[in-house]
Subunit: 118 residues, 2 copies
Amino acid sequence: MPIEETDRTIASDKVEGTAVYDLDGERLGHIHNFMIDKHSGEVLYAVMSFGGFLGIGEHYHPLPWKVLKYDEERGGYVVGINKDALKDAPRFAADDFPVFDARYGAGVYGYWGVPFPW
Amino acid sequence: MPIEETDRTIASDKVEGTAVYDLDGERLGHIHNFMIDKHSGEVLYAVMSFGGFLGIGEHYHPLPWKVLKYDEERGGYVVGINKDALKDAPRFAADDFPVFDARYGAGVYGYWGVPFPW
């Protein structure tokens, strides 16, 4: 795969599958995919999968792009939280897909301390 | 895969692989991936693969998100160009990956008549 990364851009399929760690260096999960705003083409959420085994018990955390910091050493993203606190962070189950409307967005972005774009 | 689409959002991995047609309904290629602005989380380019067989002779067209219009009937995106004209549109080969800097962006967005965000 040649199309991957430059100084300021990164390929979607390079980020998908990348590990996410907490502040203590514990692995939380990986980037599953992104939810893109159809109108603006903005990444509204990087969706991190968490837990489960072969898809059973797995759930998802929608993260504003800005809370992901790339850590060269770990070769993955770090979010400013620890694994225990993540229990209280916005999440959804695979069979309970959110509507991702403005109200939902305000809740998620509010939790992470980032202004929601709409 | 439950995480796909709502009124205003769409999953990255749902768009990847979706067919792209020209104004005459001819199939041009498919969405290969996205190049995302690392700072803003904006989709800078939807990268459309074009031509080739088993990767040989294939090349890529970087498209501003806004030039892709979803066509329900065709089940794919339509770009406002025809296949012949696409020869003159910005493109790159798999082994000649662009830097995706502001100069490159101005050229690509200029070609498609969309203001470049930087």
